[in-house]
């Protein structure tokens, strides 16, 4: 088994008229990895996935999926991928079994294996006993799991899931992520996009995307520890507004923001929490206690986006 990355993108760019949806994206995803695309709506997540599936032609740059070029060999790429689009896209007027049978035929699943694969997909989706139900009568979570079942009937080595959990209730979302990890254990490479920050924690690696650009890439832990370029502190204080203004002027402070009833202050490495408290005391500000915290991915994302906006693209 070779160890070449399952997905490689180099300078991948897609423009729609004057709008740049994906802007010089460089990315590598290793085999068997669960990679998350995180970013707000309109950040270019779906466009990137569609480019990688060969559904859109890149304006410039290149990419390969499972070792095949997405521009020159789109049909071979399609043999090696499973794709779940953002909008539910199975046939509502066909039954669960008929949908599965259709995609098994389209993907040329070897005939003797069809019953077993379909049975697996049905049990994975938790739809035992409802094989004869018209798909449009199913609830959201079941539809999503069935769509996943259809996308993996041919055992693709690479799976693209575009916001598979949007509009699905939390319990069903959690079950869905369990499925994704089951597949990853079997060696499937999975690229999944979401705008739920909490789901990012389920991924091996995260690509933070904003305005078509990749702004950070790493494991959730790496991003939280290193991306901010400093240590995050949580500071309790009685007068939030004035303390915030004073903290922003204090030496060694990279960024400060109100977070619920406390301040989150990012300090340059080498600056201690006590030093900040001491500085605030000289300004006549009463504050404390202060403690170092691990930032959430949301902190990281917000920090990185606001920093980019200050610097300018």
């Amino acid at each position: 088994m070779n160890t070449a990355p399952a997905v490689i993108a180099q300078g991948l760019t897609k423009k729609f008229g004057t709008f740049t949806a994906v802007d010089h994206l460089d990315l590598e995803i290793a085999k068997g990895e669960v990679a998350g695309f995180i970013g707000p709506n309109g950040a270019g997540k779906s466009t990137t996935i569609r480019l990688l599936c060969g559904l859109l032609r890149p304006t410039s740059g290149s990419a390969s999926v499972a070792g095949y070029d997405i521009v020159r060999q789109p049909d071979i790429v399609r043999l090696h991928i499973g794709y779940m689009s953002q909008k539910f896209s199975l046939y509502g007027d066909l039954t669960v079994h008929e949908n599965l049978r259709f995609f098994a035929g389209i993907y040329q699943v070897p005939r003797p294996q069809i019953p077993e694969r379909i049975a697996f997909a049905v049990s994975m989706a938790g739809l035992e006993g409802r094989e004869g139900a018209l798909v449009r009568t199913l609830a959201g979570g079941w539809k999503q799991r069935l769509a996943l079942g259809c996308a993996i009937l041919h055992r693709p080595p690479v799976l693209f899931l575009d916001e598979p959990t949007s509009g699905v209730e939390p319990e069903a979302r959690r079950r869905f992520w369990d499925l994704i990890h089951t597949l990853a254990v079997d060696g499937v490479t999975i690229l999944v996009s979401t705008h739920y920050m909490d789901e990012a924690e389920y991924c091996n690696r995260i690509a933070l995307i904003d305005a078509g650009r990749l702004i950070a890439l790493g494991s959730p832990g790496e991003l939280r520890r290193h991306e901010l370029g400093g240590q995050l502190f949580e500071l309790a204080c009685p007068i939030l507004g004035a303390t915030l203004a004073a903290a922003r002027q204090a030496p060694g402070v990279i960024e400060a923001a109100i977070f619920a009833d406390k301040l989150h202050v990012l300090l340059r490495a080498g600056t201690s929490g006590e030093a900040l408290l001491a500085h605030l005391a000289t300004q006549g500000m009463e504050a404390g206690p202060i403690r170092a915290i691990l930032p959430s991915l949301e902190d990281v994302f917000v920090q990185l986006v606001s920093r980019r906006q200050k610097v300018g693209p």
């Binding site: 599936c53 060969g54 559904l55 066909l94 259709f102 995609f103 389209i106 993907y107």
Partner: protein, 378 residues
């Protein structure tokens, strides 16, 4: 091209048609409705033309002749008049649209020479009706003349070449009963097939775009040729069934005489089916919504076929420029072929040019349709 993928698409498409009331109605009810509506509703025949009679002679012979006119069913007696002035008045106030004047010496001249003349006057305002009614009048007179000829034979034993001729004589080819239904029904079959075929297929790809299922489909290895064949084959079978229904109804219910070869009929019908369905598919691929695609399909099939296929309006009576346009209307070839097969029983050689034209259309449309579909979103 992979047969399994084609089969998977064809099967899926069949299920969808089966479960879609709209498609099912188009596939099953439309042919029936159209056949009844167009078969019965459209008729260029005229019955019970109001006719005034002015019998100047009032002999047994002249009365027999008038009897033939009313017995034909084409004419009814509006009034029996006694003067030329009364005929003029009746025509003026539209009591009748035609008058038959039998001259005073009609039976005498007929008995002596075997020839005679009758005068038929028609209101020329409705040229079409007059044309047809004149034809009918000739038909009746010919019939009367034949009776006289037989009688002459019986009385004289010999038949002079001119005996039993009452001047007007016309002969109608192919459609001896002068029934315009025989002329129209084959065209109706073409119109139904075009309508059903293009309507059904115009929905098929647009539906996938509209419901978002296309995005999933194009992410699979399916090719555009497989999609074309897989999607069209169930509709093609439906179309052939519909065509069979219409053609059988034409032959057995409407009693349109069939004189051609069944095999040629099936082949030409299949060709025409491919053309109309290919056009519907092309539209569906290009226009991503069902309503738009089906409306344009209607415009591209129904209008030119109704106007320019020769289905009701005879092409040879059109101005040259319009006739030239009609050569582009693929349906004219099928309508022509249907009439050749039904009424004339033409040989293959006689139909070759029409078949070739239809074949060229089928190849061109399929070629375009196979290329039209792009497996991309942009």
């Amino acid at each position: 091209m992979n047969p399994r993928r084609i089969l998977a698409i064809a099967y899926k498409e069949t299920l969808q048609v089966w479960r879609d009331p709209r498609s099912l109605a188009i596939a099953l009810l439309m042919p029936l409705m159209q056949m009844v509506l167009l078969g019965y509703g459209i008729s260029l025949d005229i019955k019970h033309v109001p006719l005034c009679l002015y019998d100047q002679e009032n002999s047994q012979t002249s009365r027999e002749m008038l009897q033939d006119f009313t017995a034909s069913g084409w004419f009814k007696t509006a009034a029996i008049l006694g003067s030329n002035r009364a005929v003029r008045a009746a025509m003026d106030n539209a009591t009748c649209i035609g008058a038959l004047v039998i001259p005073v010496n009609f039976s005498r001249v007929l008995a002596q020479t075997g020839q005679a003349q009758v005068q038929a006057v028609f209101d020329g305002t409705d040229a079409n009706t007059t044309n047809i009614a004149t034809g009918y009048a000739q038909g009746v007179i010919a019939q009367t003349a034949a009776t006289f000829a037989r009688r002459w034979d019986a009385q004289h034993g010999v038949r002079p070449p001119t005996a039993g001729s009452i001047n007007l004589q016309s002969r109608v080819w192919y459609n001896e009963t002068l029934d315009s239904r025989n002329f129209i029904i084959p065209g109706v079959v073409a119109i139904i097939l075009a309508l059903v075929g293009a309507q059904l297929t115009s929905l098929t790809v647009a539906r996938e775009w509209e419901r978002g299922t296309m995005e999933q489909l194009i992410s699979t290895p399916v090719t555009s040729t497989e999609l074309l064949i897989g999607k069209l084959s169930p509709y093609f079978l439906i179309g052939l069934l519909d065509a069979a229904f219409c053609l059988l109804t034409a032959a057995f219910w409407f009693q349109v005489p069939f004189r051609g070869s069944v095999l040629t009929l099936i082949l030409t019908t299949a060709l025409f089916g491919i053309v109309v369905m290919g056009i519907g598919y092309l539209l569906s691929v290009r226009i991503h919504n069902q309503l738009g695609a089906s409306q344009i399909a209607l415009m591209l099939t129904m209008l030119p076929i109704a106007m320019l296929s020769g289905y009701t309006f005879p092409l040879d009576q059109m101005p040259a420029a319009i006739r030239a346009i009609s050569f582009l209307v693929y349906a004219r070839y099928y309508v022509t072929l249907l009439r050749d097969e039904f009424l004339k029983g033409s040989s293959l050689a006689e139909m070759a040019s029409s078949i070739a034209a239809l074949l060229a259309y089928a190849v061109a449309v399929l070629w375009l349709a196979a290329r039209a579909f792009r497996k991309r979103l942009d």
